[in-house]
Homo-oligomer: 218 residues x 2
């Protein structure tokens, strides 16, 4: 059984590995966890002793398969609880993160498998992020950023890159959610802005919006 602090470090390192592909630096971990580099060094040495990651002084950290499995387990729990909060307790998708941060540390294999079943074995969380299975494997989809689409292409919203409250509320206002179909009506190459169609509405979106919305094209 791993401590809350250990689980949070593993999770953060897991995410940083995905984003950066390769060793994760002490500073990067400190930034993401809002802690100090010296604290990070302490902890990654401890996690290295426990064989959850490999670490050479000054060279950054890389999760071992065991460490990765534990991190994926925490992320699995986090995302399942988010589904629960949104689907069953009618929370809005921009208010579930903090609560899931707490729920993800409840230890019970049986609880999480029952929860998974209760929710209908969902593959994605309310933000469109994939939920690892009990072995830590993730079903990856071919998703791209809306900004990568060209004029007249269609896509289905499957997630967001940024998930700040402001951004999620913007999407809500525009009636964009997971599963929403989007058609690109026009694209301005000068500033990357677009005009898109959502349902019967047509409107303008900035490059910044388009670069933070994942869509699936089929």
């Amino acid at each position: 059984m791993y401590s809350l602090a250990e689980e949070n470090y593993l999770k953060a390192i897991y995410h940083l590995e995905q984003e950066a592909k390769g060793e994760v630096s002490t500073n990067a971990i400190a930034d993401r966890m809002a802690t100090k580099p010296s604290s990070v060094t302490d902890m990654i040495q401890k996690l290295a002793d426990k064989k959850l990651l490999s670490y050479k002084r000054y060279k950054g950290a890389l999760l071992t398969p065991e460490g990765r499995k534990i991190a994926a387990g925490v992320i699995r729990k986090h995302r399942l609880w988010e589904v629960f909060l949104v689907e069953k307790l009618d929370f809005h998708w921009d208010e579930v993160h903090e609560i899931a941060e707490q729920l993800e540390h409840v230890h019970s294999e049986k609880l999480i498998s029952r929860l998974d079943q209760f929710l209908g074995n969902p593959d994605f969380d309310p933000h469109g992020d994939p939920i690892p299975d009990k072995h830590g494997n993730i079903k990856r989809t071919e998703k791209k950023l809306l900004s990568e689409l060209d004029k007249k292409q269609r896509g289905v919203c499957v997630g967001v890159k940024e998930s700040s409250s402001d951004f999620l509320q913007y999407l809500d206002k525009k009636k964009i959610t997971i599963g929403t179909k989007i058609l690109v009506l026009g694209k301005e190459f000068f500033d990357g802005s677009m005009v898109i169609q959502v349902g019967r509405d047509q409107f303008f979106i900035s490059k910044k919006i388009a670069e933070n919305l994942y869509v699936q094209t089929n």
Copy 2:
């Protein structure tokens, strides 16, 4: 926001106050929490500083209204989560305690009020214990021990005193659960044993069983 340790102390003291009516001794708290008296002294001094309980050296502890409110809040969460586990995730009532011990420390007012609503605002947990409302008030029922009933009296099972796994499994085997109607067919004054009727079955129960089963008579 109170720490996990603080919440657990408050909860333990709350329960001991109910059972013993009056100041709670250092040793009693240490026993219940499987910790040492010296640790208890440290913590109750800390809680007294925070005005969550009143404490005079060598005289035991008594919760303040504020401390009692917090304790009741933790118990409310514990019991609501137990209902969730049994009603929604099909857990057996003898396996939910440990999980609820973890879930009860998740902090979110909104979560717990939504959960309450989702569960249909239950008044009792799966063991028949009352669930405090959001203000910490408990709806007490006139429950008595089965052992207090006389021959030919009827009662409805509303809870258990002991909730050991062995006992709960015994009840399960005998098809006794919350809401089960019980008729006392005979009572032996020599050893306190009884013959009771449950549904179409009639069987013998020992004094020990009868003293650990709460019933409501009406």
